[in-house]
Amino acid sequence: MSSVTPTITTVTPTRPKSLLSRLIEMGTHQRLLAFASLIVLLIGFSLVSPNFMQTSNMIAILQATSVNGVLAIAATLVIITGGIDLSVGTLMTFTAVMAGVVLTYAGMPLPLGVAAAIATGAICGLCSGTFVAKMKIPPFIATLGMMLILKGLSLVISGTRPIYFNDTPGFDQISRGSLIGEIIPALPIPNGVLILFLVAAAASYILGRTVLGRYAFALGSNEEAVRLSGVNTDRWKMAIYALAGGICGIGGLLIASRLNSAQPALGLGYELEAIAAVVIGGTSLSGGRGTILGTLIGALIMAVLTNGLRVLSVAQEWQTVVTGAIIILAVYADMMRRKKG
């Protein structure tokens, strides 16, 4: 006991860190190397097609990432707790429809529509969370049920018709406008992308720095141990699902603004894509570990892949084949590097 040598106590002091370096550190901490795959893809496509590496195309890729990225962030939160969320896609649609109801049908001002979407998302997330935490329904089933319920409700509420936001000037600017472009005209990054990064930063902060985030990891790591530590696990789990739901609400706003309409039939199949981004980003489906940065990179990999193959005009059936193969290869390369490192 007393023979403990003092070498053990040499713990590196924690300096105050910038958000960026913190994000990067979290990445390397998890030995997140999917980043390398992303770079390889970017370089590869640039070499093969001169049209790929244009500012406008890079912005198109980021724009394409924004919705899936936001949904993937929501899915990451839930997956870290050891759950899964299949409802992210249809919840996104449902929140878009609710925004449409508030803005177009009820004619209320823009901020109320934004609030409605996010609140709807959080409430629906809370429902899923309640099913999982209180009713002990496996997350897969709880969120599958929610996925179907929300898909149906979106159609019911919208009357199976798209709701257009033509009466709400500025709504389409949420995603399409470019605050950055107004300041730096050479860099017309759309607001949707900006929002994605803001959401990512916030989620990253919550996961890394707050009690909620800490419990999210702990629940995924060993829920029973957390419960036996006297933590009200149910409440925290519900909070995470609600937060994820709120983020889906932001996703709903992004897609609605991008399409300038709430498309009630959209959203099915988006859950798999979001979860894929999460897993490619190195988050474990069994919970307890994962990073938002990884998820972002995962979402970017998917978007770059899809866009690049399209720009190369690869035949559509081959696009699918190649996408599947590259996803497997990217994760494999990641595994290999992790093993070595």
Binding site: Q63, V67, L155, A265, L268, R310, Q316
Partner: protein
């Protein structure tokens, strides 16, 4: 000499209908010596995926672009961008609510479905109950064909009641199950209308599996299974558009627009009703596909 490149962003890819459009486009591409690519999302609900496809197509600086909008409003910013870069847009299949496209090559789905209603009424003798197996609840074609049929029935055939409209996503298996459930719930049903190839084949499968007799089936589009069923009389008759023509006309119009030639506002590619009696006529055979 610079290559003329014309990407077509369609509403779908895997369905036979879209493959026929693609075939027409390829035919025109050969004829005019241009390069054509053809892409479409997995399902007609994926509006944003189609926008991404359009964005990627524009990145390649095409000579002209063919576009079948899932939702015309959603695409307007990109179409405007194309317009500003001097890339002419040819709309096909359904129009775009805007004057940006130089022309639109399309079928009047509402009128075509109304013709289907008339033929149905003719076959069942103006009275009885019928049902619709539609392929989609929210897509433009799904809505137009369903409503074209329903409205015509209500307006012109008061003796006929449409008892059920259900959706099978154009998937043959799902449509089969839907049609079977409709047959179970409505034993005295006189006829069924399937709004696309998958829906019509689904009805045919259901009739086969349940040994239902005396059901009048009106189909839509072609494809080998459907043309076979028409020949055998299982399907009383079907509407066909001219998908190959749509593809051909779209590329042709795009080439002309690229060359700065004048185009009409709308290129109507037409639709036809075919049954066992006229299926082999040259005019019909030309627009059918397998």
């Amino acid at each position: 000499q610079e290559e003329v490149y014309i990407p077509l962003v369609s509403k779908g890819f895997q369905h036979q209908f879209w493959q026929a459009v693609k075939a027409g486009a390829d035919q025109a591409a050969d004829e005019f010596g241009v390069r054509v690519t053809f892409e479409g999302p997995d399902s007609e609900t994926m509006v944003d995926r189609q926008i991404d496809m359009l964005a990627a197509a524009l990145a390649n600086k095409p000579s002209a672009i063919g576009f079948a909008a899932l939702d015309s409003q959603a695409a307007i910013p990109l179409l405007r961008k194309a317009h500003e870069s001097g890339i002419p847009v040819v709309a096909f299949d359904s129009g775009v609510d805007s004057d940006l496209p130089v022309t639109t090559a399309t079928t009047d789905n509402v009128a075509a479905a109304a013709l289907a209603a008339d033929k149905m009424a003719e076959h069942i003798g103006g009275a009885g109950t019928v049902a619709v197996v539609a392929h989609d609840q929210t897509s433009r074609t799904g809505i137009d064909r369903r409503d074209g049929f329903l409205n015509r029935m209500a307006a012109a055939h008061p003796g006929i009641e449409v008892v059920s409209v259900q959706y099978g996503q154009g998937d043959q298996l799902q449509s089969t199950e839907v049609a079977k459930a409709i047959l179970t719930a409505n034993p005295g049903l006189a006829g069924m209308f399937g709004t696309n190839e998958g829906s019509a084949i689904g009805i045919v499968n259901a009739v086969r599996e349940m040994n239902a007799t005396n059901l009048v089936i009106i189909g839509y589009d072609s494809g080998k299974a459907q043309t076979d069923a028409v020949r055998q009389g299982v399907i009383a008759g079907a509407i066909t558009q001219n998908p190959v023509g749509i593809g051909y006309e779209t590329v042709k119009a795009a080439v002309m627009a690229h060359r700065g030639e004048a185009l009409p506002n709308v290129i109507d590619t037409g639709f036809y009703y075919y049954d066992a009696s006229n299926i082999d006529e040259a005019k019909i055979a030309a627009v059918l596909y397998d």
